[in-house]
Assembly symmetry: C2
Homo-oligomer: 275 residues x 2
Amino acid sequence: MPPTDAVPLSDFDAATAVSRGEGGGLTAVLDPGWDVGSGVLNGGYLLSVAARAAVLESPHPHPVALSASYLRVTGPGRTTLTVTPGPAGRTLAHAQVTLGDPAGPTLAVQATTATLGEDAPVFSSPMPEVPPVERCLPADAGADLAGHPVPVVGLRERVETRLDPATAGWAAGQPLGEPVMRAWVRLTGGREPDPLALVLFADVLPPTSWAIGQYGWAPTVQLQVLIRALPAPGWCLVEARASEVAGGWLDEDYRIWDCTGRLVAQSRQLARAPR
Amino acid sequence: MPPTDAVPLSDFDAATAVSRGEGGGLTAVLDPGWDVGSGVLNGGYLLSVAARAAVLESPHPHPVALSASYLRVTGPGRTTLTVTPGPAGRTLAHAQVTLGDPAGPTLAVQATTATLGEDAPVFSSPMPEVPPVERCLPADAGADLAGHPVPVVGLRERVETRLDPATAGWAAGQPLGEPVMRAWVRLTGGREPDPLALVLFADVLPPTSWAIGQYGWAPTVQLQVLIRALPAPGWCLVEARASEVAGGWLDEDYRIWDCTGRLVAQSRQLARAPR
């Protein structure tokens, strides 16, 4: 009889798998399908691979704070992961995680892991008012969004994305005065959210500068992700907002709620603004 | 004749000075006067020392993104600083900065430096409406704040703090329903703000949980600071807000504007919530 645990890995779990070699070193094979165009891998995808390595070497199961410096392009294919443990205790553990290729480190991550529980929050920011999923706009790769086809990039094929119509004007060439976007997201194939998926969702939308009509790629320089709670199964709502676009720089501030309305993650990145 | 550049260093510049030893190593002597009580040094103060070391070893003059993991208590007195340069180019440079004592690293920082210019922003979040400085409440050490003396901690003696009365109810035992605080701040002695002072200001207020009546110390676990523009001389407005207090954790989200109303810095930290 086949073993009962032989459930095939979801796309996300397969693409973020970290394995230990014979010498004890960690490696991952980065999947070219998690790109945002031009073969560039999504920053949240790369960070979720680093988070998996951090958890693998930690006494705690959940990433709660990750700060990543995107040093160089991390391309698809084999990458080595180096985890340098820091102080660890009953509440939390620190570590440094580095992704690298033969030319040196490409992504440096400070990771704090802990054990998230079921505590009801003392205070939690309420979810903004957004139409239900079925009244939002599909932004899957190739979808027709108000007459404009969504670019076929791997990320959009692997994360189902439903844009809040109130912040989707940019897609029809009618940008807002404010750099904000909201969308419901979930992994394709029914894989439910967990802290690793939230790390992915923390960089999952197009640059918020698109919302004010500044299109183009906005490469991440430094990204911090905080995971605040274990998400309930179902869709998550992502709100991304820039506080300032100036001098060739852009910030992206994310808040993520699960379908019960609980704030489950936050992130902020500094990126280069599209020209 | 004495040299004309023999202006005495401000308290802040003296307390964050980084010097190079004969062997090339960097050290700082941390000033016990920049504490938040019980001899614990303020996290923003420690990070501004690390930022100074990053700039010293960079081709660029300004810290623009810093992410710090507070690994162990960094006590007053001599600390060693190790700067490991990463990729550097015309736009930005990456480095890792570590503060340490003989027992090992105490603070690990990923630092990105760049050259901030005078560009007018494409988009910038407006400053919230706050009364002018002279109508806000002095929260200097020992001051009487609505009948409650402000704890005498070094930080409050070195940073002049004027609380927005709308968010100062906690000081009179009347906490708000929302964990938010706003205050005008400046360094004592007339030292004007610059990017290093903004790093200090990014962790300068009491824990936002005080605003909802949860008093006590909230030790920082991981802090990210983004410096977005060169601040104009004068007071800066700091707004600190928690999005979630749950499971023994707290986030603190800062936005900082200069006196012209320009957003000049942002930060977010994950901290342990007061019990």
